[in-house]
């Protein structure tokens, strides 16, 4: 009897894997088809931009216009948006695209996270990609948008001079539980050295300590990419009220998101 149940279970899971694969395949193809259609119709609609190659429409144009269009259709923007990549294979260009899209739409703080610390280790590579994509996608508008990269410990108080300034932060699991532990150690040291009493330790004090090291507001929204249904250690303290939206893949290309 147990063997029968096991077989049924395997069959059920096989069905799910097939369904996921089919959906993923469909999405890629439908996106390509959509892009082709948009590419064809756009110049007719705009009536200006000359395609770089005759006969084909530069994908940059369609993306550029879409970025702006998305911004106008979004009613309420999050102050801080987190990009949580749970996929094993990470494409830096696609992530950079997402970040630039966030900037174009007017999101002030964007954080990028993966639980293996890949982004943290390849911080400069990600920065380069972002700057490259910023140039490519935003073209002549890119001077309006400036991006500030934040690394832990060396942050100075950033000034919101331009309204289009965005702050990009790369995060890893060390910024999660480990940061809380470090804050706890600090408070315990203060108690050890009689600088604080037990009554001085509460949620507010702990919160301000954690905020000091991060210098970034709590995420309002997290876009989780990949099939793993978990936050995988992303800023546990800060995601108290964060909305978590699950998307399938960061290599998707469809940036028309509404919430």
């Amino acid at each position: 009897m147990t063997i029968l149940y096991e077989m049924a279970w395997r069959f059920l899971h096989a069905l799910f894997y097939v369904q996921r694969a089919l959906v993923a395949w469909f999405r890629v193809h439908i996106w390509r088809w959509k892009r082709a259609v948009v590419g064809l119709l756009l110049p007719l609609a705009l009536g200006l931009h000359k395609p770089k190659k005759t006969g084909t429409i530069s994908k940059r144009t369609s993306r550029r216009v879409r970025c702006g269009a998305d911004g106008r259709t979004l009613e309420k923007l999050p102050l801080h948006l987190g990009l949580l990549i749970t996929e094993e294979e990470i494409h830096f260009t696609d992530v950079a695209n997402l970040v630039v899209w966030c900037m174009a739409v007017g999101i002030s703080y964007v954080s990028v996270y993966d639980n293996q610390g890949v982004f943290r280790r390849n911080n400069s590579r990600l920065m380069e990609e972002i700057l490259k994509q910023q140039q490519e996608l935003l073209g002549m508008d890119s001077s309006k948008y400036s991006v500030e990269f934040m690394k832990n410990g060396t942050d100075k108080q950033e000034h919101q001079v331009l309204s289009c300034q965005s702050v990009v932060k790369v995060l890893s699991p060390d910024d999660g539980r480990l940061s809380i532990v470090q804050a706890a150690q600090q408070l315990c040291r203060d108690v050890e050295q009689k600088e604080k009493t037990l009554k001085d330790i509460n949620v507010t004090v702990l919160d301000s300590l954690l905020r000091e090291s991060k210098n970034i507001p709590d995420p309002d929204l997290v876009l989780k990419f990949g099939p793993v249904e978990s936050t995988l250690g992303f800023l546990p303290w800060h995601i108290r009220l964060t909305e978590i939206i699950c998307l399938d893949s960061h290599s998707d290309g469809t940036h028309s998101l509404h919430w």
Binding site: W9, C188, E192, L198, P236, I239, R240
Partner: protein
């Protein structure tokens, strides 16, 4: 028994349960039972009735969990934030809690039969005194049971829980039981309200909200999160199966992530121990160089003494915990 519905599964439900059980099953499931008020609005009944139905659904869900072999359940019954609701609603919820806990105390036989251990997690000092007493009695009455565990988060928020765990460790440091360098992820976990439970494998939130709302933020870092749009009083066995299936699909990746995290934790601890030993040797040494063998020996001694300190601290916490909070010392 009022807290666990006495109803067996139908044939189809049993079949599905058996098929699911052929794969990895969560051992501990957490529920954010959201949607009582919306259900009341939808069904054109009083909010109080919505909450009451919500409790009945909890009893039913506990039965399903037991049938699926899930022996530990944690539920978010009342947040510290909920105190901001209307006095009428808050009083209504407190009254519901009084009724349910009083009823529980009259069902000792059934509790023993099912081996249910009830724990209530939260800042209970915020509750009316009579409710605190009822809760204390229920917890004490079921303390020795170990077949299944129900953790009810009442007057709870995760940030408050983490802050109070930090406070407990600070107490340990103040009393000289531990050093501030002994503070670690593992120790913090041991000081949380949920220290007697493993981390939840699966967290389910109903009513379509996609937030954690200050619930088990520390403990669910590597849990499977399932957001379902059904309102809590309308929750069905099939909804639960759907969530368990989701858990099974994410199982491999979650195990991998957890193992990676554990490795990172161990490395972190080793680094911390090494730097403490280095500091110790520097203080002790008179400029003499220490060979690697002695350094290794010192490291092992240090780890042993740290573990002993932590053990004593946790014992002391068990003994003094109820007294400390009651006295307002912390």
């Amino acid at each position: 028994m009022s807290w666990i519905r006495e109803r067996e599964l139908s044939f189809l439900e049993r079949l599905t349960a058996n098929i699911l059980k052929a794969g990895p099953m969560p051992k501990h499931v957490a529920f954010i039972m959201d949607g009582n008020r919306r259900f009341a609005q939808k069904a054109h009944v009083q909010r109080q009735e919505g909450h009451s139905q919500g409790f009945e659904k909890l009893a039913e869900t506990l039965r399903w969990c037991l049938n699926l072999g899930i022996h530990e359940v944690t539920v978010y019954a009342f947040s510290i934030e909920n105190f901001k609701r209307s006095k009428e609603e808050v009083d209504g919820l407190m009254e519901l809690a009084r009724q349910k806990f009083s009823r529980l105390l009259t069902e000792q036989e059934n509790l023993e039969k099912h081996g249910v251990c009830i724990r209530v997690l939260g800042d209970l000092t915020l509750l009316p005194a009579d409710l605190q007493q009822l809760i204390a009695k229920s917890v004490v009455a079921t303390k020795a049971h170990n077949k299944c565990f129900l953790n009810v988060c009442f007057a709870y928020t995760s940030r408050y829980e983490i802050a109070s765990a930090v406070k407990e460790m600070a107490w340990g440091v103040e009393q000289g039981l531990i050093k501030s360098s002994d503070v670690s992820e593992v120790l913090l976990s041991e000081c949380l309200y949920s220290s007697n439970s493993p981390n939840p494998d699966l967290l389910i939130r109903t009513s379509g909200e996609v937030r954690l709302s200050d619930f088990l933020l520390w403990q669910t870092s590597y849990s499977c999160l399932v957001f379902q749009s059904v309102l809590w009083p309308e929750y069905s066995f099939w909804n639960l199966c759907e969530a368990v299936l989701q858990y099974q699909l994410s199982y491999q990746s979650l195990q991998k992530a957890r193992d990676l995290h554990r490795e990172g934790q161990a490395l972190q601890q080793m680094e911390e121990d090494r730097s403490c030993v280095a500091e110790l040797l520097q203080h002790r040494g008179n400029g003499k160089l220490v060979d690697s063998q002695s350094r290794q020996k010192e490291l092992l001694n240090y780890i042993a003494s740290r573990e002993e300190r932590v053990r004593c601290f946790l014992n002391a916490l068990q003994m003094f915990y109820p007294v400390l909070w009651g006295s307002g010392y912390v």
